[in-house]
Amino acid sequence: MKILYTLLIALSTFTFFSCSKETSTTQVKVMNSLLTNKNWYLDYSITDAMTSTTPVVMKSYVGQSTYFITYLKNGDTKDSDGITGTYSVELINGASQIHMQLKTSNGNPFEVIYNIISVGESNMVLSKLVSGPATKLYFTTK
């Protein structure tokens, strides 16, 4: 019977250790890997309605020389307007966000936070965290 017990214990231990090895940083790592070292070109911006009677404002930049932003692997960011700074992807209360500490070309610092609606290998949708109606920004890598 000893061998049966040994087999049973080995199998149970196997099952016990078969749980996932996800860590708190796994999701951030994956989002970072999708985000970095690409030029993200703005294709659309959609601003929610201010009131129930005002319309949603959708702007298309497809086919135009448009705004783009790059997130580098070393944590730096720069955009087509010449604004540079650093960024970090964070998971706060279940919400995935990009926190950017930026400087204008005059050297004035400011912070921008985007909620990540969706990020992929070639598509990204961000929502700017501001007071008032939210603006969603649709980017592609072209």
């Binding site: 000893k2 080995a10 996800e22 890997s33 969706s118 290998e121």
Partner: protein, 261 residues
């Protein structure tokens, strides 16, 4: 990975020990040195002898055990339900989805025998290199531009160790003294020993253990070799945010080790 290796080593050890014990003991003439050695006390050998004896007692009804080596071709496809993924990640559906069976391979040992002189069985232990086609059940979109996408990217190549216990029913087909056809049914268990990508771990999706229900047919050619075709239907052993159904067809051959070595 190291942990998986430790456990796989333990399984290999137990398996090899079982094989050792089940093999027939032949009478032999002892040399002078062996005769002298027989008078000495060997605690290690004594323990092994006792262990063998205990095994023989436990498995007294498992007779006619033949050890074989097997190799097989696997065709695999998995069905993926990523409904519970909450991470805001998209993968283009058309880039990932290929609703087809992909080829992999397996190899290992199997032991065939008879329980209580009536019930034929086989136990097997093997390693599978699985390449799998992925069918994503759910399609999402985000207007105005993102194409159809999925929230999850499943690994499509991985390695597992597999143990199986199959019941074999002899079918009354043809000349049963020469050729034997069997219907086969039983459970099997797979454990992924290859590393899991980080994409596969998001939101608790990662799962290393797969439990399978197997059935199929086997053809025994006068005991020279066995051709087999099995279908395996597998699911995650533990609950997961991405339940996966793994469908596999296994076509292969086994040859008795005593004929090979």
């Amino acid at each position: 990975m190291g942990l998986a290796n430790t456990f796989s080593n333990r399984f290999i050890f137990i398996f090899l020990l079982a094989i050792l014990v089940s093999s027939k003991v032949h009478a032999q003439i002892l040399t002078k040195k062996q005769q002298d050695s027989a008078f000495l006390l060997h605690p290690g050998q004594e323990r092994i002898r006792k262990f063998k004896k205990s095994l023989a007692k436990t498995f007294v009804n498992f007779t006619g055990n033949d050890l074989s080596l097997y190799g097989s071709l696997n065709l695999s496809k998995q069905k993926i339900n990523d409904n519970d993924i909450t991470a805001p990640i998209n993968y283009l559906y058309n880039n990932l989805n290929n609703n087809s069976y992909e080829a992999g391979f397996s190899g290992g040992f199997r032991m065939d025998g008879i329980y209580n002189e009536k019930h034929r069985y086989s136990f097997s232990f093997g390693i599978n290199r699985i390449t799998v086609g992925n069918y994503y059940q759910n399609i999402y979109s985000l207007a105005p531009f993102i194409d159809d996408f999925t929230h999850f990217k499943a690994d499509n190549v991985f390695t597992t160790i597999n143990i199986a216990a199959h019941y074999k029913k002899l079918l009354p087909v043809g000349d049963m003294n020469k050729y034997k056809f069997y219907a086969v049914i039983g459970p099997s268990f797979d454990y992924k020993i290859s590393s899991i990508s980080e994409e596969n771990l998001i939101n608790g999706a990662g799962n290393k253990a797969i439990i399978n229900g197997d059935f199929g047919a086997e053809f025994d050619n006068k005991g020279y070799y066995v051709l087999f075709a099995h279908y395996k239907f597998g699911v995650n052993m533990k609950s997961s945010s991405v339940p996966i159904q793994l469908n596999r067809f296994e076509i292969g051959m086994s040859i008795k080790t005593k004929d090979l070595f």
